[in-house]
C-alpha cells in the first residue's frame, strides 16, 4: 500500500505533526476520502519503529499529537527508491501512477525518470500480451485484449502527463503554497 511511503514522502519536505500530514495527504491524494487519524498515527508509529522517521516530543503532555516527526536518512532513501521504481504493469493503476507523479513533483524529484521507467515496463508487458494473443486461442486473446487496452490507456496518460510536467509542477507548487 502506498500510504506509508506517501506520508514518508510528505515528511521529506519538513518535519511535521501527524495532523499536518493528514491534512496534506487529504489535500493532495484524498479526493473525497480522507485518511483516518488512527491510520496516520499507527503508520507513523510503524515508520518510527522501522527507523524511517524519528519522533520528537516538542510539547508537554502525552499523546501522539504532541510529537513532531522527521524523516531519517533511511526513510529518504526509501522514498527515493520507490519513486524511481515502475509499478508492475496491470490495469487499474491510476491512483498509484498518480501518487508517484504528484509526490515526485512536490519533492522536486524527476517525475520524467519515473514516467520513462513506467513506460518501458508498460511497453514490455504489452509486447508480451501481444505475442501471447498472436499464439493463444480466441478466448485468451479476448482477455489479452482487455489488458492491452487498459495498458494503452495508461500509456496515453503517461505521454500526456510527461508533456505537461512543467505546468503540473507549477500547479502543485501553488497548491502547496495555498495550504496554511
Amino acid at each position: 500500500m502506498s500510504v506509508p511511503l506517501t506520508l514518508l514522502g510528505l515528511l521529506e519536505r519538513e518535519p511535521s505533526y501527524g495532523y499536518d500530514l493528514k491534512r496534506d495527504y487529504d489535500a493532495h491524494f484524498g479526493w473525497g476520502r480522507s485518511l483516518p487519524f488512527g491510520q496516520v498515527y499507527a503508520t507513523l508509529a510503524r515508520l518510527a519503529r522501522d527507523g524511517k522517521v524519528s519522533a520528537a516530543t516538542v510539547e508537554p503532555g502525552a499523546g501522539p499529537d504532541r510529537k513532531r516527526y522527521a524523516i531519517t536518512e533511511r526513510g529518504t532513501s526509501e522514498v527515493q527508491e520507490w519513486l524511481r521504481t515502475p509499478i508492475e504493469p496491470e490495469p487499474h493503476l491510476q491512483t498509484l501512477l498518480f501518487t508517484k507523479v504528484v509526490l515526485a513533483l512536490i519533492l522536486g524529484r524527476s517525475a520524467r525518470t519515473y514516467l520513462d521507467a513506467q513506460r518501458a515496463a508498460h511497453m514490455e508487458r504489452m509486447r508480451q500480451l501481444t505475442e501471447l494473443r498472436r499464439t493463444a486461442g480466441s478466448v485468451e486473446a479476448l482477455l489479452a485484449d482487455h489488458g492491452l487496452f487498459h495498458l494503452e490507456a495508461d500509456l496515453r496518460w503517461i505521454d500526456l502527463t510527461e508533456a505537461r510536467l512543467a505546468s503540473l509542477a507549477n500547479a502543485i507548487k501553488n497548491h502547496e503554497e495555498v495550504q496554511p
Partner: protein, 256 residues
C-alpha cells in the same frame, strides 16, 4: 550487384545503424545526435510524439534523406556517402517500404503493383508476375489480382503495399505508420501479416508508429524525443515491495 551482396561476412553486427545523426530542414532541427542500431532479423518500433523526428530518422536510415552529420550503415557498410545512383539501387534491391497511405498506382491492378519492383529491377515479365501472384494467398488477396488498386478497400490496399514491399525479398522493411490510415481491427490484421511474413523471411524491420498497440508487435521499442533516441529499457528489478499489494502476483502467462 546489390550493396548487400558485396561480401559482408560479419553477420554479428547490426543490419541497419545510425550514429549521431543530425538533420535540419531549413532552420528547423529534426534530428540532433540520434543513434540507433537494429540487429539482423529484429523488428524495432520507433515511437515518439509528432514532430519528434522519428520519421526523419527512418528516412535517414533508409537512404531517402542524407543526414547533415553523422553516419548511416547498412549491413556493415557506410551508405550516407554513396552517390544517388548507388543509394537508389540499395533502396530498390535491399529495402522494402510501406507508408501510411499505400502509395500504390491506382490505375494499375493489384498484380501490376506487386510486380512493379521486380519489373523495375529488370526481372522478366512472366517471372515477375508469377512471383507477384504467389504473394496473393499469403496476404489473403487471392481473388484480387486483376482488380485496380483504386477499387480495393484501405486494408486490402495496405496488404498489397506490404506484398509489393516484400516481393523482392528485401533485407530490411521500413514501415512508416503502416496502420495509420486503418481502423484498429484492420490495422491488427496488417500487423499480424507484417510479423508473420517478416519472421518467415528473416526480414529486419524498422517501423515508425505513434500507437503503442502497434509498437507492441515489435521485439524492441525506442523513443525519439527532441531529435534524440531514448532506449527504453524494461526495468531489470521487480516492482517495489510497497507496490506489490496494489498489484496481484501474476504467473508468467495471462492468467491472473
Amino acid at each position: 550487384m546489390s550493396i548487400s551482396t558485396l561480401g559482408s561476412e560479419d553477420s554479428a553486427g547490426p543490419m541497419v545503424e545510425g550514429r549521431s545523426l543530425v538533420k535540419s530542414f531549413g532552420r528547423t532541427p529534426a534530428l540532433n545526435g540520434a543513434s540507433v542500431a537494429v540487429a539482423p532479423g529484429e523488428m524495432l518500433a520507433v515511437m515518439g510524439p509528432s514532430g519528434s523526428g522519428k520519421s526523419t530518422l527512418l528516412h535517414c536510415l533508409a537512404g531517402i534523406f542524407t543526414p547533415d552529420a553523422g553516419e548511416v550503415f547498412f549491413d556493415g557498410r557506410r551508405t550516407d556517402r554513396l552517390g544517388e545512383t548507388r543509394r537508389s539501387e540499395m533502396r530498390r534491391r535491399d529495402f522494402g517500404f510501406v507508408f501510411q497511405f499505400g502509395q500504390l498506382v491506382p490505375e494499375l491492378t493489384v498484380e501490376d503493383n506487386i510486380a512493379l519492383p521486380l519489373l523495375l529491377d529488370g526481372t522478366a515479365r512472366r517471372q515477375a508476375y508469377a512471383s507477384a501472384r504467389s504473394w496473393l494467398p499469403r496476404l489473403g488477396l487471392d481473388d484480387l489480382g486483376p482488380r485496380r488498386t483504386g477499387e480495393v478497400s484501405g486494408g486490402e490496399a495496405q496488404r498489397v503495399a506490404l506484398a509489393r514491399a516484400l516481393v523482392h525479398h528485401p533485407k530490411v522493411l521500413f514501415a512508416d505508420e503502416p496502420t495509420g490510415s486503418l481502423d484498429s481491427l484492420t490495422g491488427e490484421q496488417v500487423m499480424e501479416l507484417v510479423v508473420t511474413l517478416t519472421r518467415a523471411e528473416g526480414t529486419t524491420v524498422v517501423m515508425v508508429t505513434h500507437e503503442a498497440r502497434v509498437a507492441a508487435y515489435a521485439n524492441r521499442m525506442v523513443l525519439v524525443r527532441d531529435g534524440q533516441v531514448t532506449v527504453a529499457q524494461p526495468p531489470a528489478a521487480p516492482s517495489h515491495p510497497a507496490d506489490a499489494s496494489a498489484t496481484r502476483r501474476r504467473p508468467p502467462s495471462l492468467a491472473r
